[in-house]
């Protein structure tokens, strides 16, 4: 594209000018960043075909040629801006770039990394030493534990600091190829999540009053995404009844190391009750002992095992015509010490969807909410179909506003007006 080319022009001009003069003592290597295959191709077929006939997937930048490549079955590599920039650059590796200041800065970063690695090694040895000490020597159980904990935290911090300035790590993370089992990628992912998506989530669950209505507190620490079919649902979005008639898929991303056993609950605090003139709760889904980890993040609520995890299977949410919207709140709750709950006992006890409160469950099984999500449901064209499908008994009932008796009209002396 023209604007890509325009954007990368000054840099490229600068690069080209520098290289035309030549860098003293450095043999110019071309296309060091590219794959060997691309290099071989470029060398093996010199000028036999014009570029537009056989476009290089790592260099093509015009949409027309990109489309042609896609039709042939190869997708272009990297961003269009990057490809446009590579077209005119001699693509020299970092180590051979001629900017002295840049090289000095790289040296500083490399030294810093080496220093951090040394510190990590030292800290590991110290931890091993403390662990090797007996209880009497380390001054009791509690101080030893707290000391070890502090040292572990420091070690994690050092691990992050060692890699946080690495451009390759940054690039990998931005391309979405980060390995979540490594602390640096988890750190970057958490920072990114906290910057925007967590704020949105917290705002939605507090503004729509999910947090005092369903649970008293929730401080999300895991990133939760919700999918119905292939569509990702943003927190608080209205979901069509037909779409939500099958259980959703979830993507629960932990940012701490290790594994956890969680309970997943979907509760609706907005079931209208005309008799009591109030709203009831309903539990639409409940599963216990669901393992989540930093790498295995995908959860399909319909694929959980029925005889060891799912206490209450998915009940499609429906809203009657005229009723206020229903807030379906999804909570991921950590089980105490990641110990499994007794599934049979839970299943025996928790059978009634209507009278079940998440607050009660939280207290009863000592759960702690670590992730949250919500979506909303209201009457739409597909609701009736879903109601019939699940045998909803009040499908032919509509809710209308009750007429409020107006204030008594106050007359000072009604008799005298006549």
């Amino acid at each position: 594209m023209a604007h890509c080319e325009r954007a990368s022009k000054p840099l490229l001009q600068c690069l080209r000018n520098t290289y035309s003069k030549g860098v003293a003592g450095i043999p110019i290597q071309t296309r060091a960043f590219q794959s060997a295959a691309g290099l071989g191709e470029a060398q093996s077929e010199p000028t036999s075909q014009p570029f537009y006939k056989a476009p290089d997937p790592s260099l093509v930048s015009s949409p027309r040629l990109e489309r042609r490549l896609l039709r042939q079955g190869t997708s272009p590599i990297g961003s269009r801006r990057r490809r446009a920039a590579l077209q005119g650059s001699s693509n020299i590796p970092f180590e051979q770039l001629p900017y002295q200041c840049f090289q000095e800065a790289r040296k500083v970063l490399l030294n810093d990394r080496a220093e951090k690695l040394e510190q990590i090694e030292k800290m590991r040895q110290r931890i091993a030493r403390v662990e090797a000490l007996s209880l009497e020597e380390s001054g009791g159980e509690v101080p030893r534990k707290s000391r070890l904990r502090a040292m572990q935290l420091e070690l994690e911090r050092l691990k992050i600091l060692a890699d946080v300035n690495d451009p390759l790590v940054k690039r990998k993370f931005e391309d979405g190829h980060g390995d979540m089992s490594k602390p640096i990628y988890r750190y970057l992912a958490e920072r990114k999540w906290r910057e925007y998506r967590r704020k949105i989530l917290v705002q939605r669950i507090t503004q729509m009053k999910v947090v005092p209505d369903v649970l008293p507190h929730c401080e999300p620490t895991v990133d939760t995404k919700l999918y119905f079919g292939r569509r990702q649902i943003q927190p608080g979005e209205f979901v069509q009844a037909k779409l939500s008639s099958t259980a959703p898929r979830m993507d629960v991303q932990m940012f701490e190391r290790g594994e956890k056993l969680v309970t997943i609950a979907v509760a609706d605090p907005d079931v209208p009750n005309v008799e009591t003139d109030n709203f009831d709760y309903k539990m639409h889904f409940l599963a216990v002992n669901v393992p989540i980890s930093t790498t295995a993040t995908k959860l399909d609520l319909s694929q959980l095992s029925a005889d060891s995890q799912v206490v209450l299977p998915w009940l499609p949410p429906v809203a009657q015509l005229g009723s206020p919207y229903h807030r379906l709140s999804v909570f991921v709750m950590e089980q105490k010490d990641s110990q499994p709950l007794d599934f049979a006992a839970v299943k025996d006890r928790e059978t009634d969807r209507d009278s079940m409160l998440l607050r009660t469950l939280q207290a009863r099984y000592r759960l702690k909410a670590i992730g949250a999500h919500m979506f909303r449901t209201q009457w739409d064209d597909t609701t009736l179909e879903v109601m019939n499908q699940i045998g909803f008994d009040q499908a032919n009932i509509e809710l209308r506003r009750k007429k409020v008796e107006p204030l008594p009209y106050k007359r000072r002396n009604p008799a005298s007006f006549r």
Binding site: N278, N396, L399
Partner: protein, 273 residues
């Protein structure tokens, strides 16, 4: 005539040189002129011999001392506007119904709390039937004053921070009515009771012209609106950048206006005769 760019540096020069010169030559009746005058009107000013100490240094700068007030404030107090009847319309503990105005204000002196809302002009009104409470909620906001509604006569506000919200459904269950999918239209009919204006069902609207308001048998407005669509008429897309088209339209309009004007003037001329 004034040359402001020249003026400033010269004035500065004057300030440096002026006083010393004046103090030495004041009594000697030396024809002393400001540098400025010399530069501005060089030959003529030199010929004149005028004592300079009696006049101001710069004849160009004028000072107007405030001897009169610019505009009088004599009748200030008679311009007080009428009161706007702001303030509380319902006291704490009073029973209100939805829509009932509780407080009128300029700006948000009070904020809407539980079961209340704020109108376009910051009026606080009730959204639920209940009893009015005026309260502070330091956990929600340290400075704001709130007006809320509670359902019980002796209810307290604010509620505990993590307690579930107290709500009421305020709805009744009725059998669900099927909504007509097609669009209906207004129609008028004449019978012994006079003219009746009522909705035309969508089914009847298809049967041809009906008697409609204005005593006309005609199609519905929405049907008229779709004639062009049915006939496949497509208006030309107006492009702002197409200045050639814009020019042609403008010329056509001016010609039309001129024609109309000439017609008018002809009529007026006839009348005068």
């Amino acid at each position: 005539m004034l040359q402001p760019r020249l003026l400033t540096p010269l004035r500065a020069l004057e300030r440096v040189i002026g006083p010393s010169v004046r103090s030495t030559t004041q009594h000697l009746y030396q024809p002393q002129q400001s540098l400025l005058q010399r530069t501005l009107s060089a030959p003529s000013a030199l010929t004149k011999t005028t004592p300079s100490f009696s006049r101001p240094l710069f004849p160009f700068s004028q000072v107007r001392h405030a001897s009169h007030a610019a505009q009088g404030t004599a009748n200030k107090h008679s311009r007080d506007p009428a009161g706007k009847r702001l303030g509380a319309k319902r006291t704490g503990g009073e029973y209100v119904v939805p829509g009932c105005i509780i407080f009128r204000q300029r700006g948000s002196k009070w904020f809407p709390g539980e079961n209340c809302a704020m109108g376009r002009d910051h009026t606080i009104y009730a959204t639920q039937p209940g009893y009015v409470r005026y309260y502070l909620d330091p956990l929600q906001h340290p400075d704001r004053r709130y007006i809320g509604i509670v359902f019980e006569k002796d209810g307290k506000l604010p509620h505990p921070r993590n307690a579930p919200t107290r709500r009421k459904l305020n709805m009744v269950a009725v059998p669900r009515a099927e909504r007509a999918a097609a669009q209906s239209d207004l129609v008028a009919s004449v019978d012994e009771n006079g003219v009746q204006v009522a909705d035309v069902d969508a089914a009847h609207a298809e049967q041809g012209p009906q008697l409609r308001p204005g005593y006309m048998y005609r199609e519905a407005n929405w049907q008229i609106g779709r004639v062009a669509e049915k006939a496949g008429v497509k208006p030309k897309v107006y492009k702002v950048r197409n200045r050639w088209l814009a020019w042609r339209m403008r010329v056509a309009r001016t010609q039309r206006v001129a024609q109309m004007k000439s017609l008018k003037s002809k009529k007026a001329g006839k009348k005068n005769k």
